[in-house]
Symmetry: C2
Subunit: 311 residues, 2 copies
């Protein structure tokens, strides 16, 4: 199987945009008809999540290259939730979408190995293309993931600079005058550089929040070989201009995630008015198209559809 | 429901020791009869894990206060693995064991909330007493867990100083002359202090590796109100003397985890010789008793059975 980044670049070229749709199902935001009246039965909620996410996938599969299911929202509903998550991943792959599992997993030694095998291994039970990974356990905790990724052509996105205000508690601490997140960034860059493929990007990407636009550009310079997963667009306040520096001169190098702003677009006043709750799928499509247009207008993403050799 | 620490102290008093048995099933170490010939069928492996863990629980339920299932090893086998994990947790609770889910979970905002509800909430699908949590996302990422713990009398163990060599990559970085892990420790202590119950310990505990004995004592001083979860005993090299400083003057304040050294004792030469693989449960019991004796001989744990007012 080709490397994750090669598959990602191909999908982005085909779609003409790097939008990632975050699959974060919450029972109280589901459209009428899918929203359970009570949340007493986890199986009911899990079934609703599956139907909802698969319908979202039906809408976005022809528009965007990649989706990111958030494990937590499925995990909340126990084994039925996890079974639904599994079917959602399989469905997304059947619709030719790439899948990043957002689990922020990690552990030490053979336990990290188990997480790597779980999500990215040759016999992966979950079948994701990439996984988000936490760096607090250190450099050796990333190695099992790197080895598995090399074997299966999958990828990881390491948390570097997260989009929440409290991220600064550890991430912005100064070490020899530089914030701690640059220490993590240099580690990610080392892995990315030594595993870089034909597009110049390696198997280790970085999570860099859209809510800190100045750091997006700084980190792009520190990690020239790392693909960025940029959360925080839309509901959290990040704009197309805020993420512009995440891209390279070809409009490549980053995927921009939007979760609630797309999947729950029917709850936003302007879409609610236009489509009503019953046409929530049209709201998903409209919100996705709007985000694509914003990125194409404000960033180098507009150049994606042009041949790869264009500057 | 009484607070997690109250339940823990009561269980420790009843058992006379603070041993935590780590439930880390690996298919290639399972005893004959439970070990699958091939790992082609995740359901087969998951069923084997469930039977094995429940049999381990049968052996240790009368000996120790608490178990710690490692989510990764179940997650590796997909939805069937997660269903097995769920049944193992339920079984441990039916046998009056406390359960710490070792998931090292965390995320931001409402996603952290979902993890908190999943494992510790009033309608928790998993039903754990406590959860291990990663701190890289910062102070605000811990708050949803704290609120849920306050509501349900559950607990968290925050990664502070992990047992692996690479933990030093971030954790030992010096900030104003002090290692970063003390910054995390002070945050944990703040939460523990403001939530401290009758035994002096709060709902936020700390993961502190047995493999760094000097730091165990330092961190005990920084976190007088935090219960310690100490991994790294046994297979990773930590000894009873190495963990002695984790305890307070009553022999309370810490649980010492042993995973492979107990559950796979049948693979250790001295137990293999004594019991053979067929009597692997006897090896589990013998290894547990040996660890209890080591802790009672080398630490203040020996005083646990005496009244709580004893010095």
């Amino acid at each position: 199987m080709s490397a994750f980044i090669d598959r990602l670049v191909e999908r982005i070229r085909n779609c003409g945009n790097p939008v990632m749709v975050g699959l974060d199902p919450r029972w109280d935001s589901l459209p009428a008809g899918l929203r359970p009246d009570s949340i007493g039965d986890p199986q009911w909620v899990a079934d609703s999540f599956e139907r909802f996410c698969c319908e979202v996938i039906d809408v976005v599969a022809s528009l965007v290259p990649i989706v990111k299911p958030q494990a937590a929202f499925f995990e909340q509903w126990g084994p039925p939730g996890m079974a639904a998550l599994h079917r959602v991943v399989q469905y997304a792959r059947r619709r030719d979408l790439l899948v990043v599992m957002d689990g922020k997993r990690n552990d030490i030694g053979s336990t990290a190995q188990a997480y790597a095998e779980a999500y990215l291994g040759p016999n992966s039970a979950w079948g994701a293309d990439a996984l988000t990974v936490s760096p607090y356990l250190g450099d050796d905790s990333l190695e099992p993931f790197v080895k598995v990724c090399e074997k299966t052509g999958s990828g990881i996105f390491v948390l570097v600079k997260t989009s929440n205000p409290g991220g600064k508690f550890l991430q912005d601490l100064l070490i020899d005058g530089q914030p701690l997140f640059t220490r993590v960034a240099r580690l990610v860059q080392q892995i990315a550089q030594r595993t870089a493929g034909s597009h110049g990007y390696g198997l280790a990407g970085a999570v860099v929040g859209a809510t800190y636009p100045a750091q997006v550009g700084e980190l792009r310079a520190v990690m020239p070989n790392s693909w960025f997963l940029v959360p925080g667009y839309g509901t959290q306040g990040g704009t197309a201009r805020d993420v512009a520096d995440a891209f390279d001169q070809h409009g490549m190098g980053a995927v921009i995630n939007n979760s609630r702003g797309i999947i729950f677009a029917h709850t936003l006043p302007r879409y609610a008015e236009q489509f009503g709750e019953s046409r929530w799928q049209d709201a998903v499509a409209a919100a996705t198209r709007e985000m694509i247009e914003q990125l194409q207008a404000e960033t180098r993403v507009g150049s994606i559809a042009r041949p790869a050799t264009a500057p």
